[in-house]
């Protein structure tokens, strides 16, 4: 495990999956799924925000969204295979006309439902009842807030986002989210605002809890630290700012074999807005499908064949294995 302070070693920058697989081999590791307990459903690229680091390249003008037919197929799969957890993401998933159908039906089938909720979508037309909708369906809300200060948040997510996010958090708190003993879970997500790795999760969570309460009276349950993936819009930023080589080198130098066991690709399958399957949301955005010998679409979903599958990798995988690791549930290793 590397220290958070300057490391005086060097490795060349990498840009291929071969080097990631070689790195795993050097530690006697290979990347295979362990189980499939989560179906991560990306309902499309439509979003009310245009964040500078977005790995989906999502925004208000994107038209690629999941149809009702595909959503119904997703629900059939959850029902048939009794999927334990449904993790709904986008874009802003709430903007998809089938979003509430997916939540209602998944909950009716007994699945735990997580929604990647960007907070500001509450202020879009006909979305102001979202806190009540989440509460009524016992949804676990996971919301991005890159920092507890306006400057950093707006720099990443757009002007005015911080102020709206704080107001949305207040409304979620009023609905019972993030309140002790309510059972309504509100987790926040920290992304570095730039080309650097996240701080230790427990340490920055303590800062967020203290500062959000002190400054705004806001409470929440947990903070996930997520590393920015060197793909799509964040990769464009890295290239524009001349940080690509430096950032990739940092990811490689910070490779932590202890993260591999807990990587999210080992227990989830990701499905895109067309119904195609992937090892994770990042592979989805790179159009890197499941290994060719496996089922490729939600219609062919087969948890037995998917459970021990070989994971498709790329240079971006170094993003999930750097330092304390990174997953949709935050850091995956300690120390």
């Amino acid at each position: 495990m590397t220290t958070a302070l300057p490391v005086l070693t060097t490795e060349p920058a990498v840009h291929s999956s071969v080097e990631f697989d070689e790195k795993l081999s050097a530690y006697g590791l290979e990347l295979r799924a362990a189980t499939v307990d989560t179906l991560q459903v990306n309902v499309g690229k439509l979003c009310n925000q245009t964040c500078k680091h977005c790995h989906v390249d999502a925004g208000p003008t994107r038209t690629e969204i999941m149809t009702r037919t595909v959503a119904e197929q997703v629900i059939k799969t959850i029902k048939k295979f009794r999927i334990a957890t449904v993790d709904i993401t986008g874009g802003a998933p709430e903007l998809n006309p089938s979003f509430r159908y997916l939540v209602r039906e998944s909950r009716a089938l007994g699945a735990q439902v997580m929604v990647r909720h960007n907070l500001t979508v509450i202020f879009e037309p006909e979305q102001d009842d979202l806190p009540a909708f989440f509460r009524n369906h016992f949804v676990v809300v996971v919301s991005s807030l890159p920092y507890f200060l306006e400057q950093q948040t707006d720099a990443q997510r757009g002007r005015g986002v911080f102020e709206k996010s704080i107001e949305a958090l207040r409304r979620l708190n009023s609905a019972g989210y993030g309140q002790e003993d309510s059972g309504l879970i509100l987790n926040l997500v920290y992304n570095p605002v730039g080309a650097f790795l996240p701080p230790p999760q427990a340490s920055i969570e303590a800062d967020f809890k203290r500062e959000l309460m002190k400054r705004y009276g806001i409470s929440f349950n947990g903070l996930y630290t997520i590393t920015n993936m060197p793909i799509k819009r964040f990769l464009s930023y890295l290239r524009r700012s001349g940080n690509e080589g430096h950032y990739m080198r940092k990811l490689v130098e910070s490779f932590n074999p202890a993260t591999v066991d807990g990587l999210m690709c080992r227990n989830l399958v990701s499905v895109d807005w067309t119904g195609r399957l992937y090892d994770c949301d990042f592979n989805q955005m790179l159009d890197l499908g499941l290994a060719p010998e496996l089922p490729q679409t939600i219609e062919d979903f087969d948890p037995v064949r998917l459970a021990r599958r070989r994971i498709m990798t790329g240079a971006h995988c170094f993003g999930c294995t750097a330092g304390a690791g990174s997953s949709c549930g935050g850091a995956v290793a300690t120390g």
Partner: protein, 109 residues
Amino acid sequence: MAYYEEGELQRFAEIGKHRPDLYEKFMAWYQACQEEGALSRREKALIGLAVAHALQCPYCIDAFSQSCLEAGSNMEQMTEAIHMASSLRGGAALIHGIQAHNSVNKVSM
């Protein structure tokens, strides 16, 4: 030949080309100092940033600025650390004014 090229920090290991025994001793000491102990990584990173400014070492400033971010510090906190270092430097210069007073007093009526 240019001075203080950004990529030179990545060449640090080249120092070990001569007298590698000394380099290895330094590295072991350096890495041990960076580990979390009675001080947190964040505290150590802020100390590193302050010292880097006092030493006016561009390599150290670059490295420890990023370390501070990766330890969860923000620019307000980092700027306070920089002011701490700078004010100590300023104070250390200013206190020498007493030497000037002493010197002037010595030769004055």
